[in-house]
Amino acid sequence: MIKVLFFAQIRDQLATSELQMASDENSSVQALLSNLKARDDKWNRVLSNTRLMVAVNQTICNDNVDLHSGDEVAFFPPVTGG
């Protein structure tokens, strides 16, 4: 399984902070994103934000990273701390 997290506006807009996805159908961040967008119009719109950031196992990366069972993937908007 892959643990998927959403933060800030992305979490608010999806009304979801965390979910589990099967790892075999979601072998890359791209595949995972496609499956999530396919859920409905809202998910498609929110996750199509061009400024969406992704972290795999708590490290920021791009969406062609491979995923494996046990990985933690997070989607969030540009950070605004400091």
Partner: protein, 150 residues
């Protein structure tokens, strides 16, 4: 030292810790505070959300990069989370070094990377009690260029 905490911090305590080593010739500190006006809105409270675990590891990675680029004797990063009020301290970065150039550069580098790489998000509440997420500033993204051009 890296700390992510809801409690306030004491700038004096952090400064005194940084100046203890007798080889320290320069201490540069940065403090970020909750301003009354942000992006045109009158701010009443500020809430900081973060990604527990990644917050600490991303700050550690930024500090490691700074330590590999400059001669740093000691470094402190403190970032607060949760609900903050007007004038509250949000973030502290302090650098102790032999000479001022290293301290200035490392402190500004850490802030520039923290602003664009560390998973914190600000939600403001205005005077009318409306809450909204703060937009990322393009100028923060541009601020990174000065460290990659070199």
């Amino acid at each position: 030292m890296i700390k992510v905490q809801s409690e306030d911090f004491n700038q004096q305590v952090e400064y005194n810790r940084l100046r203890k080593d007798p080889s320290v010739g320069a201490v540069v500190t940065f403090s970020g505070l909750v301003r009354d006006i942000n992006q045109g809105e009158q701010v009443s409270t500020l809430t900081l959300e973060h990604y527990p675990g990644m917050t600490e590891s991303s700050l550690a990675e930024i500090v490691k990069q700074a330590e590999s680029r400059w001669n740093i004797i000691d470094c402190t990063v403190i970032h607060r989370i949760g609900e903050l009020q007007l004038l509250d301290q949000i973030v502290f970065v302090g650098i102790a070094s032999l000479h001022r150039q290293d301290a200035f550069a490392a402190c500004e580098f850490i802030m520039d990377y923290l602003k664009t790489q560390a998973p914190f998000w600000k939600k403001e509440t205005n005077a009318q009690q409306q809450s909204y997420w703060v937009d990322a500033r393009d100028s923060d993204q541009e601020a990174l260029n000065k460290w990659t051009d070199k």
